[in-house]
Symmetry: C2
Subunit: 118 residues, 2 copies
DNA sequence: TTGACGTATTCCCATATGGGAATATGATTG
DNA sequence: CAATCATATTCCCATATGGGAATACGTCAA
């Protein structure tokens, strides 16, 4: 089954290094497929394919300009990832990390349920 | 070539829905493989496999406890993802989103380089 | 030791992908 | 309409994966 039809969410789209690079370039401004080919040293077909994926998950938007197609970043698409990851923030922020360590030392077991929430 | 040997970074590890769920459970506290099997309704081998991937990319840590193995979240591993995505924050935060729209209206072209950075 | 339990591995299979090359499609210019 | 530029698609192939089933391992209880 391989990756369960995942190419439908931003998480998977962003899992690919190349695609992250494309988004980084687009973050600096609109770009045509050709621009990306040059800036990223990738083959045109590959760029188009990656853009297709990014477009399907709503991470980029297109605009026609003569024979060119200008792609631009659709930032909102990244918010879900941001929100999800942010939910784990307290797990790596030092102040809390230290507290976790102490708690685990004391309990020697799971910290489970209500950690240092409220 | 498929996904270029990516199973080495957090981005790919987290691209899998199941793995995200595992991390969410572990965020609530240490869990044994069996616990996860029950809480996530997954087969034991699958859980072990996912945990292996998560462990390889440093998203979870293990601790031996008799015949059981207790896994716990290693939050720091998510920071790279957080930082990367956070770099795009201004692209979805309303105040800036509006400004982008205006700028694009005015220029009718790329916004390129120095946007509303400093 | 033997047997049960908890977890990790291995096999096998279906399939999602990505890259490279070649080709199709659209739009622009002459 | 022909030639050309800019992109998108399609083919083909190697390979990474994930799930399911069976099995190997390590640890604990008798």
């Amino acid at each position: 089954m391989a990756r369960a039809a995942t190419t439908t969410d931003a998480f998977t789209a962003v899992a690919e290094q190349r695609r992250r690079e494309i988004l980084e370039v687009l973050a600096r401004g609109e770009r045509s497929v050709g621009d990306l080919v040059v800036e990223l040293h990738l083959a045109q077909p590959q760029v188009s394919k990656h853009l297709k994926v990014l477009h399907e998950v709503g991470l980029v938007a297109v605009r026609e300009d003569g024979r060119r197609r200008l792609y631009r970043l659709e930032g909102r698409g990244l918010k879900p990832i941001h929100d999800w990851v942010a939910g784990f923030a307290r797990h790596w922020e030092d102040r809390f990390g230290a507290l976790d360590a102490v708690l685990e030392e004391l309990t020697g077991e799971r910290t489970d349920g209500n950690d240092h929430e409220g």
